[in-house]
């Protein structure tokens, strides 16, 4: 006999966990779709964002959420500066541009992780928040942890803003043109470097901000990045490579699968089930659950 109270709570947990994944998956999917970069540093952006939250929150009245605007700006600028380097190693006459991008971002990830470990040490760091504590209990439904709910709203809002920018503005049209055909876009007078920098900066800003939220939900730790890199890969495979709207469905599927497996099957089998789903999707629908992404090759 299924306990309805527990069941609805697991649904809530799964959806909000999916919200966390969405905040990471949106930028990652954008970076792949527009820049054709599989960014191995995505998890480390999350980690650095979390540490920025831990360091700066005490300056802003021990309130992590007030750090978000600063992180958005800092990561946007940093991303805009990093993108030309990625562009440099993935274009020209270099062989295997995708591999070159992977190697570059892997090195970047190692550098970021090592730097944070050296500066802050291996300890966990709290990202404090007095506004986003506890949970709101809805009778007959369940408890909504405030910080997770806000994170999910942030992720979905970020996704909608990106989609609006991509599909309703001239800048977004330019980015889509670059994604479609870089050479023709250049011939049409689009400043490729500028728009690619904007896209990568936006991805970095969203991912770094996701790190602050994740730091508030869990904690900041130099070793946390790899886990989120793995989940970002899961997200784009399920969503369809580069297909932004699929990110919401992918996040929900990942979150709910994790929650239901943990409670109704076994906590030990969560990763096994997730990997099984990824393999099945790759075999049956390489363009993602909705079949609208690029083929995973």
């Amino acid at each position: 006999m299924v306990d309805i109270g527990l069941f609805t709570q697991i649904v809530i947990n799964g959806l909000l966990l999916g919200g966390i994944y969405i905040t990471i998956g949106v930028g990652f999917s954008l970076a792949f779709g527009v820049l054709e970069v599989v960014d191995f540093a995505v998890g480390e952006y999350v980690m650095v964002g979390a540490f920025m939250g831990a360091v700066l929150a005490p300056v802003f009245g021990a309130e992590g959420i007030f750090v978000i605007p600063i992180v958005l700006v800092v990561f946007f600028l940093a991303g805009s500066l990093i993108q030309p380097l990625i562009h440099h190693v993935t274009t020209g006459d270099r062989p295997h541009p995708l591999l070159m991008g992977l190697v570059f971002t892997f090195g970047l990830a190692t550098f970021l992780r090592g730097s944070v470990l050296t500066i802050f040490g291996p300890n966990n760091q709290d990202v404090p928040s007095s506004l986003l504590t506890g949970g709101v209990t809805v009778p007959g439904v369940g408890t909504f942890p405030v910080v997770r709910t806000v994170t999910a709203v942030f992720g979905v809002t970020g996704l909608l803003v990106f989609m609006y920018y991509l599909y309703r503005t001239r800048g977004g049209m330019a980015i889509r043109a670059i994604a479609e055909d870089r050479t023709n876009a250049r011939l049409m007078g689009i400043n490729i470097n500028r728009y690619q920098s904007i896209a990568y900066g936006a991805y970095a800003a969203l991912t770094g901000s996701a790190g602050v939220f994740i730091g508030m939900i869990f904690t900041a730790n130099p070793g946390m990045g790899l886990q989120y890199t793995a989940f970002a890969f899961f997200m784009v495979v399920l969503a369809g490579m580069g297909y932004l709207p699929g990110v919401i469905l992918a996040g929900i599927v990942l979150g709910l699968t994790q929650s239901f497996t943990a409670v109704y099957i076994s906590g030990n089998l969560v990763l096994l089930v997730l990997f099984a789903i990824i393999y099945v999707v790759l075999l049956v629908s390489p363009a993602g659950i909705l079949g609208k992404g690029e083929w995973a090759t």
């Binding site: 709570q9 966990n124 886990q227 943990a262 990763l271």
Partner: protein, 381 residues
């Protein structure tokens, strides 16, 4: 040997401080170890196990090839389980100050010893002490991260509850990267009196954070290992107070001193002065491991480098040794499931106060403070 890089670097640094503090103190205060009327300065050379069992095993082989006389470390049960067979194959005396899985001692390694009691004892005794607090709990929920040390901890907690006739509502293992809201929701659904958890510090922080977010309020959380470390207090921050933990040593414990350090507090002061950090029982156990080797070398009376006969004789001395230290009396079991483990050191149930400092609240004969139990609900803190 210890882990100076990788995921276990935090614990590795703790053990390194323990070994270094022993070596520095014995060199500064006594000029080294006196053997046969002559004093030899202690030199500790480190190999980095990089938090990996296979790298640890390779590092152990290299140290032996390089002519080590005896080996201290490594950190963590996983790495120790990989290193002990190498010590065995090479007949190398080895004491670890920081491995707690019972599996290490059940293997019956002849050349390996450990100063910290196995977690099957620590977890069991701390749980028993907690179950004796008033009002006595009727039910517990037990969780553990799925790796050897944490599973051994969780199982020892579960066994202690069953031995005490307390209902174990559930025993659940899950991977470290699991999302803890699901763990908490499942526990919250059965509303246990206590939640007992085996894991390392990061998992404690995640569990306590998810509990606060979902308003999960058992009468207390008991977690092992490391609730009195800076990493737990920094990570859990406002949520850290009132957490129960297990240890075999803290600076305020009432134990007589002995070789090198006059008292637990004297040791803590030396650590503060040298490293600007308070020691935990892992650091203390590591220093005690050095002291045990120091006393065994003295008794052996052979000058370094040691021959294989010397090393074999050293093992015999270690089996017979009984050293009084700031950490407690150290003597190793010579048979049974705790073979070559020091199980003499008393387990302490501790609880973090509102300022995050630990107080000994059990067992009754060792308690220095009264437990704050049942702990306040999240919205009452």
């Amino acid at each position: 040997m210890t882990s100076l890089s990788g995921d276990l670097r935090f614990g590795g640094e703790v053990t390194q401080r323990g070994y270094d503090l022993w070596a520095d103190t014995v060199n500064d205060e006594k000029g080294g170890i006196e053997v046969g009327g002559e004093t030899y300065e202690v030199e500790v050379e480190y190999a980095d196990a990089q938090s990996s069992p296979s790298t640890g095993a390779d590092a152990a082989s290299e140290m032996i090839e390089d002519g080590a006389d005896a080996i201290l470390g490594p950190y963590s049960s996983n790495v120790t389980l990989a290193v002990c067979p190498i010590m065995e194959q090479n007949s190398m005396p080895h004491i670890t100050g920081s491995a707690e899985s019972p599996q290490i001692w059940q293997e019956g390694f002849e050349y390996s010893f450990g100063t910290i009691p196995t977690v099957s004892i620590i977890g069991n005794e701390a749980t028993s002490a907690l179950l004796n607090l008033e009002p006595q709990p009727d039910s517990v929920y037990v969780t553990a991260v799925n790796e050897p040390f944490s599973v051994a901890t969780g199982e020892s907690m579960r066994d202690a509850a069953e031995e005490a006739g307390v209902t174990v509502e559930n025993y659940e293992e899950f991977p470290r990267d699991a999302d803890y809201t699901n763990v908490v929701s499942a526990a919250q659904d059965v509303d246990p009196d206590l939640h007992l958890h085996g894991g390392h510090i990061g998992s404690h922080v995640d569990l306590i954070s998810a509990s606060e977010q979902l308003g999960y309020n058992p009468d207390g959380f008991l977690m092992h290992y490391g609730v009195n470390t800076g990493s737990y207090k920094d990570g859990a921050d406002d949520q850290a107070p009132y957490t129960f933990g297990a240890t075999v040593w803290i600076p305020s414990v009432d134990r007589s001193g002995g070789v090198l350090f006059d008292s637990p507090q004297a040791y803590a002061d030396a650590s503060e002065s040298e490293y600007d950090t308070a020691p935990d029982y892992t650091q203390a156990g590591s220093t005690a491991a050095g002291i045990v080797f120091q006393e065994a070398f003295k008794e052996l009376g052979s000058a370094p480098p040691l021959s294989q006969d010397d090393k074999d004789e050293l093992i015999g001395i270690l089996e017979e040794i009984d050293v009084n230290t700031f950490y407690g009396d150290v003597a190793f079991e010579t048979e049974g499931e705790y073979y070559h483990n020091n199980i003499n050191t008393q387990t302490l149930l501790i609880q973090l106060g509102e300022d995050g400092s630990p107080a000994i609240v059990g067992p009754e004969d060792a308690a220095t403070d009264e437990a704050n139990y049942p702990v306040p609900a999240w919205d009452e803190r």
